[in-house]
Symmetry: C2
Subunit: 131 residues, 2 copies
DNA sequence: TTTCCTGCAAACTATTTGCAATCTA
DNA sequence: TAGATTGCAAATAGTTTGCAGGAAA
């Protein structure tokens, strides 16, 4: 898929994803984009998302048994997944270097990047469980 | 799902997953288990895997656009995902502590564990690209 | 105009579920 | 025997795709 033309559909999908704060899935994006381009189809949403991903403009997130989610921030960063509600929280924290120790332990691998997935509770769920 | 009885099916599924070296998906497990219990259905494989996961005997791995994979090792550990062939390699390396810095930066979160997902090339693909 | 893109609907893949029959404890 | 578990088949959910018409360059 080339997807080089800047159509209304494409503009709207990118816009919705970039403004979303919640790592949305295709169904949510579709619903939102229809407020801008009511005639858009779900197929076009999928095609556009795929194009944006392969261009490196957005990133994908996978969770077993759930729909694929999209992340407006294509720069590698860390996440916390809430064990209670499934929400994905971005973590902007600076962490110790992981590449050096991993490369030292596994010289037979080529390692390009490291992303950390934390498990725990988001602020809302933590509050709920505490009360 | 209770799944308290030790049936032939259940024994075979657990056995296959534990002996697998390759983080297999349900279809692969189904195919292997049929060599032991030919009459087993794919539905039973899914039900059994779900039970094993919720009992903490095995773990799940998700990749966008791919079938869910199962990991015989339920103890949190790190993975490298090969960018070329998609293979998932276990990394047994000891890494610097990630929980402390993350907790310090995000006191509003409860953080239970951290798993690292490395991206790069598995030994085989590295070799291929090099030649 | 030319080629890419879109909407629609059908097709697919992975996974789940209802139910009657069958086993385990 | 009682109740959990199975096989089967149908049902879902998410995603992809072929095609003819429509729109961007």
């Amino acid at each position: 898929m080339a997807m080089k033309r800047l159509t209304r559909q494409r503009k709207a999908v990118l816009d919705v994803v970039q403004k979303a704060r919640n790592h949305p899935d295709a169904a949510w994006i579709y619903q939102e984009v229809r407020k801008i381009v009511p005639s858009i189809s779900l197929g076009t949403v999928y095609r556009t998302l795929e194009a944006l991903v392969s261009e490196g403009q957005i990133a994908v997130l996978a969770r077993a048994g759930e729909a694929t989610r999209y992340d407006a921030n294509p720069v590698p960063h860390h996440h916390l997944i809430c064990e209670r509600c499934g929400e994905i929280v971005d973590l902007e924290v600076e962490l110790p270097d992981l590449l050096a120790p991993a490369r030292a332990a596994y010289p037979e691998l080529t390692i390009h990047e490291a992303k950390v997935e934390f498990r725990g509770l988001c602020p809302a769920c933590r509050q709920t469980l505490r009360s």
